[in-house]
């Protein structure tokens, strides 16, 4: 069983919920996976700030290397690149920050002057947490491309751990790292907040979730900052509604001190416990 936690909008509580659910399901054979490879924070929410047990390099990107002796400056590569990463003045020049490593330049070059070279674009960190379950986190190196491919590698690594439940924390947005995170999961927990942005982004994420035909449930975080909108969202979610979490400045303060929510005595803790029960009922059928 694989669950993804996603949201569209950032900062609505994905990692908070992922960390809390991981701790609650902790004894039931889980593996926690941080697929927000742009900004992986799940380990911080779990207060796992020490060195990982294992670091695995990820090489899923590539960059063209141009042999200027062979290059005839025909410009075909420049015109072909869909990402505007190549330019031609005195010689063909690559802007590595725009390059997707797709290899179109290599295949179009009539002089055989371009060869793609693999690039290490990220790493995977493996930890055994103090809550006894393993945590697998991905990190895309800043300035590198191929976040979706790093996510896929992270999930592959997580598969190696025997588990009943995989909890996947995704990045915000709806693009390639999110698509890679939600592929192949059995259930999606969508988190939102009662703001126009939160609701709009939720619906955008849902388009992607529905495209992959993934069943989902909804968690409403900070529900009490706009009660009328919360009511509307709950009604909209219907039986897919999994529960609400109250807005509490103390959550912010607690995490600033690296204290996991589930080890606090905050109201959010109880609320998340209820959400866990609903999730169990729905997905595991207990």
């Amino acid at each position: 069983m694989k669950i993804v936690i996603s949201s569209g909008k950032g900062g609505v509580g994905k990692s908070m919920l992922s960390s809390a659910l991981s701790m609650l399901f902790g004894n039931e054979g889980i593996v926690a996976v941080d697929c927000d490879v742009d900004a992986p924070n799940l380990r911080v929410w779990l207060n796992e700030i020490g060195k990982p047990d294992k670091i695995i390099p990820v090489t899923t990107s590539a960059r063209p290397v141009i042999d200027h002796k062979k290059c005839t400056k025909c410009g075909k590569c420049v015109n072909t690149c869909q990402f505007s990463a190549l330019s031609l003045s005195k010689k063909v020049k690559l802007n590595p920050f725009l390059c997707e490593g797709c290899g179109a330049c290599e295949v179009i070059c009539p002089a055989g002057a371009i060869k793609l070279k693999p690039v290490q674009n990220g790493r995977i960190e493996v930890r055994k947490t103090k809550y006894s379950f393993p945590l697998i986190s991905g990190q895309l190196f800043p300035g590198e491309t191929g976040s979706g491919k790093v996510v896929t590698e992270v999930k592959k690594e997580a598969e190696k751990f025997k588990h009943n439940l995989m909890i996947i924390d995704s990045s915000p947005g709806t693009g390639c790292p999110v698509i890679a995170s939600i592929q192949g999961v059995d259930f999606a927990i969508l988190v939102t907040e009662p703001t126009p942005s939160g609701f709009t982004d939720l619906k955008r994420t849902l388009k992607v979730i529905n495209h992959f035909k993934i069943p989902f449930g909804l968690v409403l975080n900070k529900w009490d900052i706009n009660k009328p909108l919360s009511k509307k969202i709950e009604k909209w979610a219907g039986k897919r509604f999994l529960g609400r979490i109250s807005y509490d400045k103390e959550v912010f303060k607690s995490i600033a001190k690296l204290k996991p929510i589930m080890e606090s005595d905050l109201k959010a803790k109880e609320e998340i416990e209820k959400i866990k029960e609903r999730v169990e009922k729905i997905i595991i059928g207990k």
Binding site: G8, K9, G10, G11, V12, D36, V37, D38, A39, N41, V44, I49, T80, Q82, F83, N95, F97, L98, E100, G101, C102, G103, A104, V107, I108, L140, P142, G143, T145, S147, G148, S171, P172, G173, T174, G175, C176, P177, V178, I179, Q183, T195, P196, S197, T200, D201, R204, K207, V208, H211, F212, I225, L229, K249, F252, K253, I255, A256, K257, L258
Partner: protein, 270 residues
């Protein structure tokens, strides 16, 4: 004309809020401002200022592969060439193109010896413009489920810079997505300054390090804006900023009023 990016690494730190408030600040000083919402996967600036998107001003296109089975000889070269693993082929069968993985790079139709792959133009995004007196808001919106959103950001920026020239804008504010990957990189490139919005938490600090590192690699000067500055522990943020030689430009204390205006879409009334 100055190009200022509002970014931050972590999601939900207040990028859009800061971008809108900055725009407001510049307007009050009599500047001509264009705010470009380059968070094309989840653009929200229009909601924060109580606007609707209306009809798109421009559409953004990319080319995607379509197989012409009459010409295809099932040689498998396209599947072998595709680095996105978006082409799947069982031995002896026609290749299958998996659109969810396709980045629209074009390598497959270039490599096909039979010319059996057509490149078909498809809409991948829209550009909207809202105007209020001297203030323009340009919003980029990627088609949902689009894998590669960086090129959409690029097109939005081209559009905005054209508009800025025409309108003789003083400032272009570029609101980026969260994270550090391609749509963020595309939004940041060529900016004169990047403002990294963060919060005083360990996560904020960790992600700030990543985004400041990215700005350094891109050769963009950066400053830090610390949001909800009175709620957590500032020390970590100061130490990260210090390491990258970035000053803390502003500290914004927690404000219930901002949160309420945000949720009502009335930030411009502040």
């Amino acid at each position: 004309m100055k190009k200022i990016a509002v970014t931050g690494g972590k999601g939900g730190t207040g990028k859009s809020t800061v971008a809108v408030l900055l725009a407001l600040d510049f307007i009050k000083k009599g500047k001509r401002v264009i705010l470009a919402d380059c968070d094309v996967e989840c653009p929200n600036d229009y909601l924060l200022v109580g606007q609707k998107l209306g009809r798109p001003k421009k559409k953004v296109y990319a080319k995607f592969p379509h197989l012409n089975k009459k010409k295809c000889k099932k040689c498998g070269l396209c599947a072998k060439t595709c680095r996105e693993n978006a082409i799947f082929q069982n031995p002896g069968d026609y290749p299958i193109f998996i659109k969810d993985l396709c980045s629209a790079c074009g390598a497959c139709w270039i490599v096909c010896p039979q010319g059996a792959i057509d490149a078909r133009k498809e809409e991948v995004g829209k550009i909207y413009v809202n105007r209020k007196d001297k203030f323009y808001l340009v919003t980029g919106l990627a088609k949902s489920g689009l894998e590669e959103t960086g090129p959409v950001v690029g097109k939005v920026k081209d559009f905005v810079l054209d508009l800025a020239k025409k309108e003789r804008a003083d400032v272009v504010l570029i609101d980026t997505a969260a994270g550090t990957h391609c749509p963020v990189i595309t939004a940041l490139l060529d900016c004169d300054l990047a403002l990294a919005v963060t919060e005083p938490t360990p996560m904020g600090a960790y992600d700030l390090k990543l985004i400041l590192d990215l700005c350094k690699k891109l050769g963009i000067k950066s400053k830090v804006i610390l949001n909800q500055s009175d709620l957590g522990d500032k020390k970590r943020i100061y130490s990260v900023a210090d390491r990258f030689g970035a000053i803390i430009d502003k500290e914004i204390p927690y404000s219930r009023k901002i949160v309420e205006h945000y949720s009502k879409g009335s930030l411009f009334d502040l």
